[in-house]
Subunit: 356 residues, 2 copies
């Protein structure tokens, strides 16, 4: 399996390729289903979630299929009332005081009703692992404790998570209590996903890059570690994504993740020099680059491959999720440019050809 | 004047201190005025704008007074209809097509009515330079072309300026046309502010850190340079702020700015090592740190000073603007901790004392 080979630093002819948020609104077949169902219904009905997870795989044949779901269902079932609106998800009562926190319990993740709670992702993973050919990986995922806590404190997607950063300064002990609770739950949740059939697990700490290095080391990294250790105990590789991670890369490398997923601002070769060999690296085309003409997409993908295709631990991906309205032709051009590289690793190792 | 000394790498006993967005809602005397006037009225009536600019200076005695205004009035008078709502400013018709752009003209900045247009900032600067003691600097400012263009394209504050990054890929020629137009206008605008009495001019390219290095070099830096050159021709020092600038610091150093204003994620000592001597550095306490107890604020400020107070080109500031609801006592603790450092430079130069 190309994807697991990359996690073990054993890339062969070409690196594996998939895209964060590869299932979604940019696909007409997704919009057809979405026209009759809510986002929550789509995530929590395994029939639909499996279908939607498979749509991009059928069209483009990526090397990994990520289960269709949302990182916020976990805190949702832990006691924080969650609504999905046209502007995105929102927690109805943002957590800011000690009393707010006392309402948040620790869910028994195994006993949840698959049609409503986090159980749905487990059932979807079981079915996906049966339906997806063995050559492709099935991926599970969760939000990291800091990012989940930021959503809970902000209430909704915020510019710069100012409210969360304020909370860390005003109520550091309460923050640690919340993060610990989320870390334990996230670790269990990822273990259950591994047992349900996920070949690897991605942890999204999307907002942790808004912390300085000291705060990242205090409020994000220790809780990422707890969740990632649970994945390691389950015997599966893990991927850690942090958006805007240029200033904390070395700390991420110490998280225990098997693969670091990097945003588009950090050149991958620089990242490789900074973290050394051994860790996988995933990324990092700017998702906005998929709005250029297909030729330009092929060109940009080619540049990524020129730099990284001889790297034994490289996974081709975007630097963040696919954006709404992305042309499907561009996603195709991106995936095809990688698949057309069969044998390039050998070529790139030819010293006469050199590397950029 | 302490501030201008820092711009010339001639800090004496202590570095100067001021705070981005130091005038604003966190001050009760600001809220008293805001209760009877709209934000736009406050910016565009020089009587009010001067009063509000002076409020933090009277309370805390910073070393610089920045004029109260908004970066979006310039594109506003250039032909983009702008509204200020409780959620922040918004352009009513986001610019996305060629036809949208043709509506945007180049304003004759000198002839604007001071009670409505960008003329108000010039009148406020004239009065401030008369009213503020010579020991303190009066600062003007503008949004940088990329950040203004991002507002125009997004319509309003957006997470990650996805729409703008998409636009750069879909319509690069149109983007350059818009950026060029904004750069010329911004350069003239800053020159007029210099002539009106500003001692130094800050250029806010808040969102340019969301670009990778290649896109920053193509779509942000060249237009910053045009605006900053106009400041240099006017014989005044300039300050360039970019949020999230860890990956583009060396490019910013080549912008022509006299001082680089850094967000909280890049340690200032590291920044100094990367850019070398000669440039001023401003920053960079996390604004969220002002929500900690005053003792903790003093401690964090002290750490900044321990690292940087012997640096001849250092300006103490936050890493971004003061947040809403910041306790005024924390701002006081921050400013006082700097002012109490008289003579520390000599002390810090004592090798027996060392530097952290």
């Amino acid at each position: 399996m190309l994807f697991l080979n990359a996690c073990k630093n054993r890339n062969g002819d070409r690196p594996p390729v998939w895209l964060m948020r590869q299932a979604g609104r940019y696909l007409p077949e997704y919009r057809t289903i979405r026209a009759t169902k809510s986002f929550v219904e789509m995530c929590t009905d395994p029939d639909v979630a499996v279908e939607v997870s498979l749509q991009p795989f059928r069209r483009f044949g990526m090397d990994a299929v990520i289960v269709f779901y949302d990182i916020l269902f976990l805190p949702g079932v832990m006691g924080a009332p969650l609504v999905f609106t046209d502007e995105g998800p929102r927690f109805e009562r943002p957590l800011r005081t000690s009393a707010d926190f006392d309402r948040l319990g620790r869910a028994d993740l195994t006993s949840l009703d698959p049609s409503k709670g986090t159980g749905a992702i487990l059932e979807s993973l079981r079915r996906l692992r049966r339906e997806v050919p063995r050559e492709a990986a099935v991926l599970g995922f969760a939000g990291a404790p800091f990012t989940l806590a930021a959503y809970l404190v902000e209430g909704r997607l915020g510019q710069g998570v100012d409210r969360m950063r304020r909370f860390l300064n005003e109520e550091p002990r309460l923050a640690h209590r919340l993060l610990e609770l989320l870390a334990q739950a996230t670790g269990e949740y990822l273990s259950l996903q591994a047992a349900a059939g996920a070949d690897a697990l991605q942890l999204f700490d999307t907002w942790a890059g808004l912390l300085d290095r000291k705060d990242y080391a205090e409020f994000a990294l220790p809780y990422e570690k707890i969740a990632l250790e649970a994945v390691a105990r389950a015997g599966k590789p893990s991927i850690l994504f942090v958006n805007g991670c240029t200033h904390i890369l070395e700390d991420m490398a110490a998280s225990g993740a098997s693969v670091l997923s990097l945003d588009w601002r950090l050149p991958l070769r620089t990242a490789r020099e900074r973290v050394g060999a051994g860790l996988g690296l995933q990324g990092n085309l700017d998702p906005a680059a998929l709005f250029a003409a297909p030729d330009a997409v092929r060109q940009r993908t080619s540049s990524l491959l020129d730099a990284m295709s001889s790297d034994p631990g490289y996974v081709v991906n975007l630097g963040h999720g696919v954006l709404p309205e992305t042309p499907p032709e561009s996603v195709e051009a991106f995936v095809e440019a990688v698949k057309a590289r069969k044998g390039v690793r050998t070529a790139a190792l030819d010293p006469a050809r050199g590397l950029p």
